[in-house]
């Protein structure tokens, strides 16, 4: 087995794609991370404290995984969907009764979208509670708030697409609220619906927003968010107490005592 793996990773085709050997040495493991388009946002080494499950619960990564699942299932759903009244609703019925695994596909898309909203929201709350929004991560926090808004808008624009009573009236409630904005509300509502009521035009606009505009915006925002995580010093971690050599024996005991108290465990960390 090892011979096959070695032969494979030494082959010309493998080397042309991955440009590194089998990752059984630290050099090749490093190369596997930073020569990969998909993995290079990771550092080649991580602190042990940073990868503990309870540190982040991997909430951001799982939200990104949801976005990936939604993109795949959404692409398959687009093969069967026409954003026209009443075809949109009939396509839902086809997915339910005609298309193989159509209902499963729609269920997966639906529950993943709800899970993604929940994960993004909990990710934001956990980030805040840990104090990770502070310096030097202020701007990345602001980007994250933007991503939360885009995620909610993605789900909201998808709500109309099945064109059933539930979706129609859910969107009606939302667009009526938009219409209540002073001065620009009526214009924004008109822009959103493409008319004065929810009809074909609104369905088409929500479809384009849901399938093209918002996902591309979210993908760009996620890229920026991940890049900033690296540039801002990785994930937020509480400060470690100083070493004995640095502070001397007398001061070392007091710093250890401070480190054991909850006061310091969540203290803002300037240089994670």
């Amino acid at each position: 087995m090892r011979k096959i793996a070695t032969a494979l990773t030494r082959s010309r085709v493998w080397r042309s794609v991955f440009r590194h050997g089998f990752p059984d040495s630290n050099r090749n493991r490093s190369l596997a991370i930073f020569s990969s388009f998909f993995l290079h946002f990771h550092p080649v080494k991580v602190r042990v404290r940073a990868i503990a499950f309870t540190r982040t619960f991997y909430l951001g990564g799982l939200a990104l995984a949801c976005f990936f699942i939604l993109t795949v299932t959404g692409t398959f759903l687009m093969f069967y969907y026409h954003p026209i009244v009443p075809s949109a609703y009939n396509d839902m019925k086809d997915l339910q009764f005609v298309v193989s695994y159509g209902m499963f596909l729609r269920n997966l898309h639906r529950w993943t979208s709800r899970t993604m909203i929940a994960l993004v929201f909990v990710h934001m709350a956990w980030t805040f509670m840990r104090g990770a929004y502070r310096h030097p991560r202020e701007f990345n926090w602001t980007i994250g708030v933007g991503l939360l808004v885009i995620t909610v808008l993605l789900s909201y624009t998808g709500t109309l697409l099945p064109w059933d009573q539930l979706s129609y009236w859910a969107v009606a409630v939302g667009t009526n609220i938009v219409g209540a904005i002073p001065i620009i509300g009526a214009k924004v509502k008109l822009l959103l619906l493409g008319g004065h009521e929810i009809n074909d035009n609104a369905l088409l606009r929500f479809y384009v927003l849901h399938c093209v505009v918002l996902p591309l915006t979210l993908a760009f925002g996620v890229g920026l968010h991940l890049w900033r995580v690296r540039k801002d010093g990785g994930i937020h971690l509480p400060e470690l107490p100083p070493r004995r050599d640095d502070v001397g024996d007398e001061n070392y005991a007091s710093t250890r005592a401070d480190a054991g108290s909850p006061e310091s465990s969540d203290a803002p960390h300037e240089n994670a």
Binding site: L39, K45, R106, E197, R230
Partner: protein, 243 residues
């Protein structure tokens, strides 16, 4: 990660003279130096491949299994075709907007649907840029009972706002506010030297404000989701069912 140290970065002319192989080596060294800042020297480190990637794969598999089981067990709802002439009662927004829809019961749309969400998003976006993190010294360290009196003065003021400005008293905002006030006060009580007491004392003001926001948002959403029926009247799901 910090930028590469000046020692590791060659001069531009030197980099050009290295050629493509030399430039690639410089890039590699910059990446490696990325991980060797002084902050990390004393910390135990692991290679990302495989340690972090394996954990991420396990988390992704766990999520996938959860979603597949959900999709097999619960069908996405689909009602009859949209009919603009037939309004369902109640007409509910998606669950993540139900907190806002619940607030529409108390305030006009311009306040509940526009002003509150806009202020909330703006506040969330700019909060890191303001000094709201009162942590050192702890909130209760000096003159604690003066602090307690000030705290409950603010709580009473806000309660008055939520009692009198809505169409009816907004208990779903007031009760979470009182819960947060009680938690903050608990840090000044006799058990303040215990582990829990110290933990409560050392939370920042921003933490408590955010805790109130979370509690209030959850309360409003749960009420909108399960406790509102026809005419947006208060119902009990175990008697009247879910709407």
């Amino acid at each position: 990660m910090s930028e590469p140290t000046p020692e590791s970065a060659p001069e531009r002319g030197e980099e050009e003279s290295l050629g493509s192989v030399g430039a690639a080596r410089v890039v590699v060294e910059e990446h490696v130096s990325d991980c060797r800042t002084s902050d990390f020297v004393d910390e135990p480190m692991l290679m990302t491949f495989p340690h972090l990637l394996v954990r991420e794969c396990v988390a992704f598999l766990g999520l996938s299994i959860f979603l597949v089981v959900m999709s097999l067990c619960f069908d996405a709802p689909l009602e009859s075709i949209a009919d603009p002439t037939r309004t369902p009662n109640p007409a509910k927004a998606p669950w993540y907007f139900l907190g806002m829809q619940e607030l529409l019961q108390y305030y006009p749309p311009i306040v509940a649907g526009v002003l509150f969400p806009a202020l909330l998003i703006i506040a969330l976006a700019i909060i890191p840029y303001f000094r709201v993190n009162i942590e050192r010294p702890p909130l209760w360290k000096s003159a604690p009972w003066t602090q307690v009196a000030s705290l409950w003065g603010v709580v009473a003021g806000l309660s008055g706002v939520f009692y009198f400005t809505g169409s009816v008293p907004i208990w779903s905002l007031m009760v979470p506010l009182w819960a947060v006030g009680l938690a903050m006060t608990a840090g000044a009580l006799p058990w303040r030297r215990s582990r829990l007491g110290i933990w409560l004392q050392t939370r920042s003001l921003a933490f408590w404000i955010f805790a109130w926001f979370l509690l209030a948002a959850t309360t409003l959403t749960v009420i909108g989701l399960w406790f509102r029926g026809p005419g947006w009247r208060f119902t009990l799901p175990w008697y009247d069912g879910f709407y």
